[in-house]
Symmetry: C2
Subunit: 338 residues, 2 copies
DNA sequence: CCTGGCACTCTGGTCGTCCGAGTGCCAGCA
DNA sequence: TGCTGGCACTCGGACGACCAGAGTGCCAGG
């Protein structure tokens, strides 16, 4: 077990390293933090911390830098979440309130996160599966060709073409539209399948094929996880990554372009609060030298999507976590209001 | 006026520099290209080319590199567009044909362009203003709240909320929907304003306010240039930019995030064929060390949007232009079919 | 107008050297 | 037992000298 002071030393190392981006030595530590002990003592503590794998030295006779394990201990035990200041909160709120539609909310959120944290921001669009249906609309584009439009409570709109097995009359269409809406409007997506399963029975035999086709298209839309979109921003902040630059940045850019990777990344974070994945804790190899701070957000009490930032493992964890948490909260509010 | 051989020398310099990324000297030139003259002669030509501002030397006693002006001459006079090979064409076609909807077409196009050119690809969504209307739909979400859905021939869907000044009956709604569609379906967006201007007159006085509101929302949607979206990809290719890396890459990333900048950039290219903007020819400062190769594409004979790539001025212009042109052509075909 | 030759000028890499930061260890002290 | 000051040691980074090579400009001759 590590003594209290050793934890203090680790904390100091993390803080200094995050600030200076340079390995931190025993002397500098005692000068900058009032630990009340001499450099020599600190050196002993450092040796112990290194033994345990919390810190490492790039080469002999250089200072120490935290390892992933060290950062992990830091975020778990040594640092809280730094709350946003009042002015910051108001700024967040003001900025988000200007949004005119869902796309705009997401776009603003991305910008905001990127600016606040000075890192790469990732915001997932509110997921369909956890939302509720506001309205389902059917349009006849041609006698045997319909367009299905699905509007969610979060303001998201999905549309699909439906090719009918047989022409479908205007009356039947109106009927289907009405029945469909009366059953599913206001209901959660996950409940929709059983709410509509017996719907074809209410129609004439010749229309049943079309009704079934429409319904299966609808269900398809609901479960199509791969349709979960996301928006990223602040990639210019990648230039602040470090000196070893090109080697690190390339895989990160590649990963950021793979929405699948990012979605998986966000999806893995299951905890209720802010989740931090540090360095090698990220499954994706290209992100092994980055940390991901993410959190769920939602219009009600429940999370309908995730947002977060990707940055170097050497990041200001308390500040970043605070910003991510605050933004998520206010986005939730905005979504609930609209 | 520059002699024929001097142009040959310039061409050789550009080609070599693009290949090696290193200043090219007179000796290497004569070895790699059969110019039929000695290095000394080439040196004289180089001096002349430098005098004219087509090439420059990073420092005394280094080889020469082309200037923006040199590239410009190269592109205009010395190099054609390198056509894609047969297999490449088939690959492009196959890849694009797998697309299921407009989003997918654009996404695939971006990937394709980025892969073919190994640079950053930018694809603008088919612009609303030059498309035609397939269908306009109105949904009543609440007594005095409508949703307007606009579907274009390119498959794009735009939706807007409309808050009505007064409750609007179901019958009036159906009436408006029918009249609206009969007037604008199949028409070009640019024609819509005059097609609907007298529409409110056909309605009862108490409905006219709502009808006007709906119409103005519709027109707003049509002209809202800022709604022109675009998709970018291949940012990882930025790492191949050069050695001086961080300084160059940062403004480029920033510019890429500003959709407005990119749209303006694409919009500036007015020529019918492939347009090339080299270095300082780009209005945006952050892109002064990049070249932009762009071209219009469209579902019919007419261009409805642009696509292109952004890369270092030191790029393979003939190959890039060929790839951009080919992709644009096939995307146009796909859009026309769907 | 082209060419070979020549003197000149840089840049980039390599090799020592030196300095300082930082370490590990040890003996002494509370 | 745990902290401290002292000391010798190590290593990386900066600095300067040096050299080789590539490239140039210029000139005189074909």
């Amino acid at each position: 077990m590590l003594s209290e002071r050793r934890l203090q030393v680790l904390r100091a190392i993390v803080q200094d390293y995050v600030g200076t981006e340079e390995p931190v030595g025993s002397k500098a530590l005692t000068e900058r933090h009032s630990l009340g002990v001499s450099p020599a003592t600190v050196r002993n503590d450092m040796a112990a911390l290194e033994e345990e794998g919390f810190i490492a030295q790039p080469h002999t006779s250089a200072g120490r830098i935290p390892t992933d394990k060290g950062y992990r201990l830091f975020v778990d035990k040594l640092a809280g979440v730094k709350p946003m200041t009042g002015p910051e909160r108001r700024a967040i709120q003001n900025f988000l309130e200007g949004a005119v539609d869902l796309d705009d909310v997401v776009a603003r959120t991305v910008r905001l996160l990127a600016q606040l944290t000075r890192q790469v921001a990732v915001v997932q669009y509110p997921s369909l599966t956890r939302s509720t249906v506001r309205h389902v609309e059917l349009l006849a584009l041609a006698p045997a060709r319909l367009m299905l439009v699905l509007i969610t409570d979060t303001g998201r709109v999905e549309q699909r073409m439906v090719d009918c097995p047989a022409p479908f009359g205007e009356a039947s269409l109106a009927d289907l539209r009405a029945r469909l809406n009366s059953r599913v409007a206001g209901r959660r997506f996950s409940d929709v399948p059983k709410l509509v399963e017996d719907l074809p029975d209410a129609f004439d035999p010749e229309d049943r094929g079309t009704v079934s086709t429409v319904l299966s298209t609808l269900l398809e839309t609901l479960v199509e996880e791969n349709e979960e979109r996301l928006m990223i921003g602040g990639t210019a902040n990648l230039t602040r990554f470090g000196h070893d630059f090109p080697l690190v940045i390339r895989p990160v850019l590649e990963a950021l372009e793979e929405q699948v990777v990012l979605l998986k990344l966000l999806g893995e974070a299951k905890e209720p609060g802010v989740t931090v994945r540090i360095g090698h804790e990220n499954a994706h190899e290209g992100l092994n030298s980055t940390s991901v701070v993410s959190v769920g957000y939602g219009s009600g009490g429940e999370a309908v999507a995730k947002l977060g930032v990707v940055g170097p493992t050497r990041m200001d964890y308390p500040g970043t976590m605070g910003a991510v948490r605050a933004v998520a909260r206010y986005v939730g509010q905005i979504l609930a209001e609209s």
